[in-house]
Point group: D2
Chain length 278, copies 4
């Protein structure tokens, strides 16, 4: 019998926990872990359960839907392997980390392929037997470039698209094809240093900490829901270039953490914010 | 109508969440927050709820007990102000922090009084109108000293006794008067550097991080259930004395955090470990 | 013979370390610790030494000036006790921490007095025998209010003025009386959330870390040189108000750290950035 | 002209900084960065300089030796590429991180080869064109196993041997072939949880933080000089197995940091402790 993750999101009201836990109790399904959150400002209910002892997944999903309000977003997810596609430019650290985890089966997803607007990272992909597509942006208009990229993504239907230091700004039109399906690593502690050259901005301002942010991509640049953030201390000895080098360590770590959370169904999105059951 | 905290601990079985959430739903009581944990190794269930809309506290407690197994430990706690008593020696930092928070009403408890085996900290207590008792250990046997101290504590019945850098080792006999009621700050990252002079031990070992640990006191020295821990980086420039100075900052912070968690009923103890719903 | 701190800042050139260390060696003065930094972008040299065995301080200062370029900023500082004055509004946490450290002699400075635009914190000052002046802003124009405040500060000449959660925005004219002499704690991770209500801004943006920044005050709001920064994790359970409460802990810690660094002559300022020899 | 690192260690006395900075000034050599430490307990002097403008390296080394006490340990190191050899068992995370950094030229050393007591990690080495030798311990006495391993290491003379989750305990005899040349990652916050199964020990104790330690290997198990340490928070939801998974992230990070520090000549060893000029 399958070990299952159940995620539910809906308008808050009295009796939601009783509703879904009652269904589970009547079916003699044991709750291994349960997290619940009510956003009192938005009057919104979120819950994530891990359960065991489920004989009939579709029956359970049906019973949960009946026990909950009709607008409830209920997913009974037998943790199937998810699929991701990765976009890159030239920097190797985030991609390599993903390829290593994928190779050894600890990523929580299968990497379908990688596309880069430069050819630099094709070699590392081939070493791990992962298809790499070079979609150059040079000599093309933005719509032309995005049309090509879109064709690659459509040919490789993935649950999530990961921007692993992909350094081109994508248009709103492009992003709308993948709502809450694109995950980006931004190389600053958002909302500080939005946009380009955040390490140079951090150096110029003389900050004592630098950060990295994993977030969903929305059509407003660097403004999407934040999944995870991390910082490291810097000081007067760090040039902008040294900050960039130091920052790679947390970019890698934060993107890995954000992916881990999303791929294990621990992240809910509502109104440009996330609920994360770590 | 009161805003309530409900804490429940019992042997795990199917239907516990359904049991208590069913009671709440039938009484139209809204769950503001809910944390739940099943210790699969120990087969033990823990939950903490914050609810609103309770008309009759004793009726709710009765109904919860009926809906749960007979061995369940159920407390419906209308967050009354708790009372603490503080034991100190000479160091001011943890005590002062507690006195300040008590004075401005953010401690989550009322400080009944302070006793010290030295007289040094009497002055700061008087400045905050908190009774201070000097119970000297000098020229006394350990049983004599502890008998005097016990008399002071019995005269000031507190929910928790806080050892805020109290530097005398208490006997098992003494500690058994206050099972899981004494909270200590140990000036190391337990279980490293158990016992005396942990900063000297840390200096001698050449560690790169030092820590502090807030824990319940059991009759096995520095072996009680851990509530909170924190570290700060140190390096070759830190003498043992500099480590001690730096350590005071995290001793203060960790004890404050441990108290905050315990006083808000967020800490469960089972078999020398804690479940902490932060 | 005094134990001394020597701080030197000047345009970088070959031979600066040889110059000042040669002076010390010829006088048989032992270097206990030495930190040195060259800002290669600005071509600027910074050094801080702790030395022992100095018989004649003014003679040493004279010899150091002769051995260094004429534009060098040389201070031989026999670590006399510095004096600070504190400005507050209503929040107690940063002020109380300063008062406690001052009372027990670990602040590294003497608190001359405290002024508040509200009367709330007068009581805690009196408990520590520190003069408190209520300078209300109500019913006064900004120039009138600042004139009164300036009179208080001029009557209490301090090495540094500490804004310990002082919630009025001071005019450029006012600030220019105290260049690089005012230290502020800002309740965000600057440059994120400049200005008012940073915790509300952080809540609205859904960040996963909140921060605090200790910085020198310049006439550009929240844009002065940063001395120290720290963060703590937050999550979806934190309302703006809970972030504010959590943030108090790091506001207290960061201001304490920034003061410790400045009062021990470990902070150099050049072109809106700091060099901090921790 | 080469950019150089100079490292000096000797008994402390007046005039050491003047001695070496005088040599540099007379040769018109510019100091880019300089770190200095005096261990007052051990009366020991350590310094690390980065300089530019050196025409004749051997002449500079000669002059520095003449200017310093005869017992001084002086190395003028034109940062040549160092060579490392890696020992592994089955776990992939630390090795993969090293292989990726080596492949992209950011490791600060060249990986000569990898040996494993299991064959599991041969594949990932081959993918990066790094020689892998399987030296099985099965069916062999410890001396036999170590004799084989020693032969591999002698055939691949490296500056440092990195134990990247090598799970066999090496004999004192073996270790003495490589004094202060073996770097290990221990999966706990030493000195807590020395020896085997530290995550199980951490779980049993109920700690709230787990750590990892990068250290030099001496013949006393897990007692060698510590280079770097790091921690991450854990809680009641972490089983021993979950702690192990979470711990891999910091094991990888700490070993990478320790290697970075050692390979850039930022680590000095004296009497079982390190001086680290980060």
């Amino acid at each position: 019998m399958a070990n299952l993750v159940i995620v539910i999101q809906c308008k808050d009201q009295v009796g939601l926990v009783a509703g879904n836990s009652g269904v589970l109790a009547r079916s003699k399904i044991n709750i291994i872990s349960m997290r619940e959150h009510v956003d009192a400002v938005e009057n919104r209910f979120f819950t994530r359960l891990e359960v065991e002892g489920v004989a009939d997944v579709s029956q359970l999903e049906k019973e949960l839907r009946e026990a909950l309000p009709s607008d409830a977003d209920v997913t009974v997810n037998p943790t199937p392997e998810k699929k991701i596609f990765v976009l890159v430019t030239k920097e190797f650290h985030c991609l390599s980390d993903i390829l290593v985890r994928n190779h050894f089966g600890t990523l929580g997803a299968k990497v379908l392929g990688v596309a880069g607007n430069h050819a630099h990272l094709g070699d590392i992909c081939r070493r791990f037997d992962i298809p790499f597509t070079h979609v150059s942006h040079e000599g093309k208009s933005k719509p032309e470039f995005e049309k090509e990229l879109l064709a690659v993504l459509k040919a490789n239907p993935a649950d999530y698209i990961v921007l692993a230091k992909f350094m081109r700004i994508l248009s709103s039109e492009f992003i709308r094809h993948f709502p809450m399906k694109m995950i980006n690593i931004h190389h600053s502690f958002l909302p500080a240093f939005i946009g380009s050259s955040p390490y140079q901005q951090a150096f110029d301002r003389g900050v004592k900490l630098i950060g990295a942010t994993g977030h969903f991509v929305t059509d407003d640049l660097d403004q999407g829901p934040i999944i995870a953030q991390q910082i490291i201390p810097v000081n007067h000895t760090h040039t902008a270039s040294a900050m960039m080098k130091a920052g790679r360590e947390i970019e890698t770590a934060v993107l890995a953490k954000a992916l881990n959370l999303v791929l294990r169904d621990k992240v809910f999105v509502y109104k440009n914010k996330t609920v994360v059951f770590e």
